[in-house]
């Protein structure tokens, strides 16, 4: 609990993080920016010479980029979960961590949004997926899950961005009231002239509640739609009704893991240990444990379905997944990283050990990336026609560089944001503190 803090402490400690950065901040920024540059160069190759520069092959028409897409969308979900769903559940522990999680959401979606564009054969025409009035009066095909994606992802990006900046308004005001010069101007802009007057708070809280109420079904729908990219097809291993819940759980698993991975160093660097405490990490660990269990159950269900369906194509695929060419990634990623490792969180000792938390969260991140890779690549490698079965898929250096670039892009945005805005919501932390009262002095 953080109740022993006072309003003033919170203000000082959080706003201190916005002051002039130290050199290692710029070092980090340089590294992430370089990673991004790598990715940009690699993508330029794809655009100049054709997608053949990547490792694609027949019949593996989707691979790294769609994996990255699903991965990053998934990352985003934990943010919305913590900021919106837990808000509706009035979970008090969310207050000090949700800003970081929400920022992560926005940037994860911004990253994910790149991949549907750069994975297509003619990226410069990707805008054709939007229903805009063209002189030829051609419209998109609303039966295609990819068009659903366009709507879901763009809505998700818009709403979560607005949600983030709505939450920032009062904190920006706090920053404004202490800052000077150009910084004062910047924060004044993001504060929109916020005063914290009673009527403002009244509308603000109502509006915030509605945002949360919208974001909640939205986040569920988004990953359901993403999962339908697969489930709506007839590909054995994709064509399954359990995909939406299965994918949402997976998304939250990977997202929470990423939140932990980011928060542990963040609080250290920003000296917020007394605001983001072990209490918060334990809660996050429990959430991770829960979703990991759901995901593990989903994995098992998939195999059971394959067997129970009696479909030779389904069972053929899952035998291939478990014992075929890509089996090692399956056993390491889906079984070890995602299903077994998080089970350690049953032990309080593990939950409260920051190093264990950090390492396991990293493993889960890797595992979840591999999960998407397995679902996509193994399914496509082993479809209906034996003639087209192939173990030949191999990513090229371009695939790797673009993937690395996406991490660069994400962390660059995140670092800039972290210096610009309070990574802990000042006003909401105050909300759960006891306000300063006369009696307290007696």
């Amino acid at each position: 609990m953080v109740t022993e803090l006072t309003y003033d402490q919170v203000n000082r400690d959080v706003l201190r993080t916005l002051e002039k950065p130290r050199p290692y901040y710029f070092l980090g920024l340089a590294i992430t920016a370089f990673m991004f540059a790598l990715g940009a160069w690699a993508e330029a190759q794809n655009i100049q010479y054709g997608l053949g520069m990547s490792g694609y092959m027949h019949p593996v028409y989707w691979a790294f980029y769609i994996t990255d897409f699903v991965f990053w969308v998934g990352i985003g979900h934990a943010g919305t979960l913590i900021s919106a769903i837990l808000y509706l559940f009035r979970a008090r522990w969310r207050m000090s961590v949700y800003r970081a999680a929400e920022a992560m959401t926005v940037f994860a979606v911004a990253t994910a949004g790149l991949f549907p564009i750069l994975h297509v054969g003619r990226p410069w025409l990707a805008y054709w997926l939007f229903p805009y009035p063209s002189e030829r009066q051609l419209w998109p095909n609303f039966k295609s899950p990819l068009v659903w994606d366009v709507f879901a992802i763009s809505t998700y990006a818009t709403v979560s961005t607005v949600f983030l900046f709505i939450g920032i308004i009062p904190d920006a005001a706090a920053a404004r009231d202490r800052a000077t010069g150009i910084r004062k101007l910047i924060y004044s802009i993001f504060a929109f002239g916020w005063l914290g007057s009673s009527d403002q708070w009244r509308h603000y809280m109502k509006s915030y509640m509605f945002f949360a109420a919208f974001a909640t079904p939205l986040v569920l729908s988004v990953h359901s739609v993403v999962s339908w990219d697969f489930a709506m097809s007839i590909v054995p291993g994709w064509h399954s009704t359990i995909f939406p819940p299965y994918f949402v759980a997976g998304a939250i698993l990977s997202g929470v893991a990423m939140v932990i991975t980011i928060l542990i160093p963040l609080r250290k660097l920003m000296g917020l240990e007394h605001i983001i405490t072990m209490w918060h990490f334990e809660a996050l660990a429990k959430l991770l444990l829960l979703t990991s269990t759901i995901v593990g159950y989903a994995y098992a269900t998939e195999f059971w379905n394959a067997w129970y369906s009696g479909s030779k194509y389904e069972s053929g695929h899952f035998l291939y997944r478990a014992f075929g060419h890509f089996a090692p990634t399956f056993w390491f990623g889906m079984v070890f990283c995602n299903s077994l490792l998080p089970q350690l969180f049953y032990f309080r000792g593990v939950r409260t050990n920051l190093w264990m938390l950090f390492i396991i969260s990293i493993f889960v991140n890797i595992g979840m990336w591999l999960e998407r890779f397995i679902i996509i690549v193994t399914a496509l490698s082993h479809e209906f026609m034996p003639y087209s079965w192939s173990d030949e898929y191999q990513p090229s250096h371009i695939d790797w560089m673009v993937t690395i670039g996406s991490f660069g892009w994400f962390f660059t945005l995140f670092l800039i944001f972290a210096k610009l805005f309070p990574m802990v919501s000042i006003n909401e932390v105050k909300e759960i503190l006891r306000p300063p009262v006369k009696e307290s002095h007696k």
Partner: protein
């Protein structure tokens, strides 16, 4: 004469049309590009113009019709009027357009030095040759050329007369001389007897691959399938005896694997049984002594063929109308042919399936050049004129040839493309490609195929005939009665086509075709049984080289599409390999891709292993065709894929086994594992179809039952109205198809107002040759992507043959099944709804259309296609000039980043519909067909409008043996496959 001039003018005009468009791309430009001022007669931009000629990619001499657009040849198809191939072509013929436009062709005469070709003026070149010929001693000039039955042979004769020589030598790496000599010895005829496979109820082949390369494959493929496949409750039988499970063997009911080189022993054994069991329908005098020693048991020791099998064959051959054929790329080819003839005679096939009155004319070609070589070695040859043959590559005893040609004073090579032999010459006289030539070709008595230029020459080349005439006239002014070869040809045809009208008709028809004259009555020459048998003594491992359906004897190795097209049996492309039996591989401790070193007296080669049940233990089979020197061409050289282009390195790709083997195409070999590896480039890594039932067969005994079930099902559904999902689709009840029930769809169906294009593929006829695939490449401008990309599964083929081995691991004999796979144009196409921009959709005529311009390239359709027939353009693919001239102007060339696939040749459909509209009539059945259906040598593919109940395709769809691939997915595919009926023994 007026007509004559008119015709010549017309051809010139066509030529100008060709030039004005063609020359834009080939260097150096010969003349200015001038736009049409006055539209030429007959040449209407946008309209196709067809020229009949003869395919010269191999000696079979199939009739060909070449489609030209704006004076440019764009597509080769069979000539329906021609008795040999009845309108069909094999993949070699389909690829001839790439020979015409081959970027590595000679653009003009060349001086050869140090294996390099330097430009040389024509006058200078010819003057030089004339000088050399004049300087030559009497009979010092020799001519070495391929089989050219017809007027060209006469010209060669005249030429040699003029230069005072009798040195004419005919070379074919795949020789038919053994067949001719054997026929001479047995029947006393001068030529190779014709074969009627259609009449034969029982076919026995001793390593004769008559579906691939042997004599006249297209003709025999159609004859064989129509004679052999299931009809009215019964079907023929085909037994193949040989050391290797070739494509032909794969189409046999029984592959009798015999020791390499021991076919002769088996043949003698069969004859032995026929004589001793008195099975002969016609007695053969004096044969007893010949076959006495070859009891079935001795044959078993020699050849490894079970004695009972030998007996069974003997009984089978004599029990019904049969046909026995023998290969020429085997040991003792001539003796084998003699015994084969004797068996045919004894079995009473002569006059029925073996015809002595329509002799094949390819018999001159021999792969034994000893007489010439001896003269060369003695230094008797001052001038050697070589016409389009390549012994330096294909002669079995290459070392001897290379040594001998050094001793020749002067070598003039007439050829259209650089060859190893050309590199040994002093001067190269660049010749027209066969499609640019006036000529004729007589594959068989009474079949006079006429060749005419289909367009103006692409390069500054000369007609080989004109060159011989020019040289002759240089030697002796006014020699040879004609100034140029066309005149010479016209004169030669004077008897056959007296007046201009007849000549023009012959040109339009593609030649003059008469029935065989003379009697085909069975007869035996006195020499029939004079035969001393020397079986090859091969201890230990044996290397066999076999000609391939793609490259024939290697001459076609520089056709990109043939390089890219996978081998029918191994599905390997762009490389050489050595086939090794699993147990042999185990002994050697090698697996697929391990480089084996094969050493014989002829030399040593290294090739990667392909473990294959289709070769006998201890036999190492290497395909012929690869291993050309880099100068042969960029595609046969060490080509590499690079960002959609193909770059060639100064290296050799693959190996050439011919120098290692004897004229019998085999040799004892020492095999060792190099320990190095070379990954096999293949389009199919999964050998079996597991439990997927893609290619289905039905045992002969089950056919009746299946038909009954189908009719019962039809009766059951009789009363019911068509369910929604059936309207406008192919009702399952019609096809009598098991699997998804009608009405399985959740949505109501859509109907097809005018047409619903559909296809039927009869697996009884399909032999898996792949002609359809290559035809598709040339018709639809499908790019060739090169080895590295094929290895990544990025080949662009819209249509391919899936080859599945039906073999439990224990099974000794492989059993290959073939099924052509292409876009099934499903009524409920899974690929359509997932496209976000409607780039693929269902046309009112039932086609699954792909709109390239609208395609964004999400590739979702490709993922969702259960048949995996969608190809993606990973790069912008290149057609090195002038190959681009061969592009079909009716089909758009796809840019990078878009999906593509089979369109059912929509451009042909459109053409037919336009014609019909112009004539204000509905489209007739059979009027519109796809490139694959058009060329299929065995007529396995039928295309048409299934909404027309009287159409061929509608009738065939109702076949009770019909099924649709992955029927249970309820895609309502437009392609119905007809199950192959097999003898119960195989099922």
């Amino acid at each position: 004469m007026a007509d004559d001039i008119k015709r010549r003018d017309f051809l010139k005009l066509v030529g100008i049309g060709g030039a004005s468009t063609a020359l834009a791309n080939c260097t150096p430009p010969v003349e200015k590009i001038i736009p049409y001022v006055v539209k030429e007669e007959q040449v209407t931009p946008g309209d196709s113009l067809y020229f009949a000629t003869v395919c010269r990619e191999c000696p079979a001499g199939c009739g060909m019709v070449v489609r030209t657009r704006e004076g440019r040849a764009v597509k080769a198809e069979g000539n329906p009027e021609h008795p040999v191939n009845d309108g069909r072509l094999c993949m070699r013929g389909q690829a001839s357009i790439q020979g015409l436009y081959n970027p590595d062709r000679f653009a003009n005469a060349k001086r050869v030095g140090g294996g390099k070709f330097a430009d040389l003026g024509w006058d200078e070149a010819i003057a030089e040759v004339v000088g050399k010929v004049q300087a030559a001693r009497p009979n010092g000039v020799a001519y070495l050329g391929p089989v050219t039955p017809g007027t060209f042979d006469n010209l060669v004769g005249d030429f040699l007369n003029v230069v005072g020589s009798n040195g004419r030598y005919i070379y074919e790496a795949i020789p038919y001389a053994p067949l001719r000599n054997a026929a001479q010895r047995v029947f006393g005829v001068n030529g190779v007897p014709a074969h009627d496979f259609e009449k034969a109820r029982y076919v026995l082949s001793f390593s004769a691959d008559f579906l691939e390369t042997w004599l006249s494959p297209v003709e025999y493929a159609l004859g064989f399938t129509s004679g052999h496949s299931y009809k009215a409750g019964e079907m023929g039988r085909f037994v193949y005896v040989g050391p290797r499970y070739s494509l032909t063997a794969a189409n046999a009911d029984q592959w009798v694997s015999a020791n390499a080189g021991q076919e002769l022993a088996v043949a003698l054994g069969v004859l032995h049984v026929i004589i001793n069991e008195n099975l002969a329908k016609q007695s053969v005098n004096g044969v007893q002594s010949l076959v006495a020693d070859y009891t079935p048991d001795r044959v078993e020791q020699l050849s490894g063929v079970k004695a009972d099998t030998v007996r069974a064959i003997a009984r089978g051959v004599t029990a019904q109308d049969s046909l026995v054929v023998s290969g020429t790329t085997v040991a003792n080819a001539e003796e084998l042919a003699v015994v084969t003839n004797l068996i045919n005679y004894a079995a009473g096939n002569v006059g029925k399936t073996v015809l002595l009155n329509q002799l094949q004319q390819q018999g001159a070609g021999s792969n034994d050049l000893t007489p010439l070589l001896e003269r060369m070695e003695r230094g008797e040859i001052d001038v050697l004129v070589i016409n389009e043959v390549n012994p330096a590559f294909s002669y079995p005893d290459a070392a001897r040839w290379n040594a001998a040609i050094e001793k020749v004073g002067y070598v003039a090579q007439l050829d259209h493309q650089p060859t190893e032999t050309g590199a040994q010459a002093d001067v190269v006289l660049a010749t027209h490609y066969s499609l640019e030539q006036w000529n004729d070709y007589v594959p068989r008595e009474g079949v006079y195929g006429l060749m005419q230029p289909v367009m103006r020459p692409v390069f500054d080349t000369r007609h080989p005939g004109d060159l011989l005439i020019a040289i002759a006239r240089g030697v002796r002014a006014g020699a040879i009665g004609a100034p140029d070869y066309k005149t010479y040809l016209r004169q030669a045809w004077g008897s056959r086509t007296g007046d201009e009208k007849a000549w023009t008709q012959a040109l339009m028809k593609g030649g003059v075709f008469q029935a065989g004259s003379g009697s085909s009555a069975p007869r035996l020459a006195s020499t029939a049984t004079q035969l001393e048998v020397k079986l090859p003594e091969l201890q230990g491992d044996v290397l066999i080289a076999y000609p391939t359906i793609q490259y024939y004897d290697g001459r076609l190795a520089n056709r990109p599409v043939l390089q890219e097209h996978p081998d029918p049996m191994t599905k390997i492309t762009w490389m050489s390999w050595v086939e090794v039996h699993p147990r042999t591989a185990e002994k050697l401790g090698v697996k697929n891709g391990d480089l084996l070193s094969l050493k014989t007296e002829g030399g040593e080669i290294e090739a990667p292993v392909y473990v294959y049940k289709g070769v006998r233990e201890g036999v190492f089979a290497v395909p012929v065709g690869q291993g050309h020197s880099p100068l042969f061409g960029r595609f046969s050289g060490e080509a590499h894929s690079y960002r959609g282009g193909i770059v060639s390195a100064e290296g050799v790709r693959g190996v050439n086994p011919l120098p290692l083997v004897t004229p019998g195409f085999l040799a004892a070999v020492q095999v060792s594992n190099t320990g190095r590896r070379q990954t096999l480039i293949t389009t199919q890594t999964q050998p079996t179809q597991e439990d997927r039932d893609i290619s289905q067969v039905v045992p002969l005994s089950q056919v009746a039952l299946m038909a009954q079930q189908a009719s019962e099902k039809a009766r059951k559904l009789e009363g019911e109205p068509l369910r929604a999902a059936e309207v406008g689709t192919i009702p399952n009840r019609v096809a009598g198809i098991q699997g998804a029930e009608p009405g399985a769809s959740f949505y109501p169906a859509h109907d097809h107002p005018a047409h619903r294009w559909a296809m039927v593929i009869d697996l009884n006829s399909c032999i898996g040759c792949g002609s359809c695939s290559v035809a598709c490449y040339t018709e639809n401008n499908i790019p060739v992507v090169g080895p590295e990309l094929v290895a990544k599964g990025r080949e662009m083929s819209w249509l391919w043959i899936e080859r599945y081995f039906e073999e439990p691991e224990a099974e000794e004999q492989p059993d290959a099944r073939f099924i052509p796979m292409l876009c099934q144009h499903c009524d409920n196409a899974p690929c359509e709804p997932v496209c976000p921009v409607y780039a693929t959709y269902h046309t009112p005529e039932g086609l699954n259309a792909q709109v390239y311009n609208r395609c964004v390239g999400t590739r979702y359709c490709g993922n969702n296609c259960p048949y995996k027939v969608r190809r993606f353009n990973w790069f912008e693919y290149e057609w090195p000039a002038p190959l681009n001239l061969g592009l079909n102007p009716d089909v758009s060339v796809r840019s990078r980043g878009v999906m593509e696939k089979c369109t059912f040749c929509v451009q042909r459909t459109r053409e037919a519909k336009n014609d019909a509209r112009n004539e204000a009539r509905p489209v007739r059945d059979g009027e519109v067909t796809t490139a694959c259906a058009q060329t299929c040598p065995t007529n396995a593919i039928t295309f048409g409008d299934i909404m027309d109940p009287n159409s061929q395709v509608a009738k065939l769809t109702a076949n009770p043996l019909g099924y649709r691939v992955l029927e249970e997915l309820n895609t309502q595919a437009a392609i119905t496959y007809i199950r192959e009926v097999v003898h119960d023994s195989e099922a």
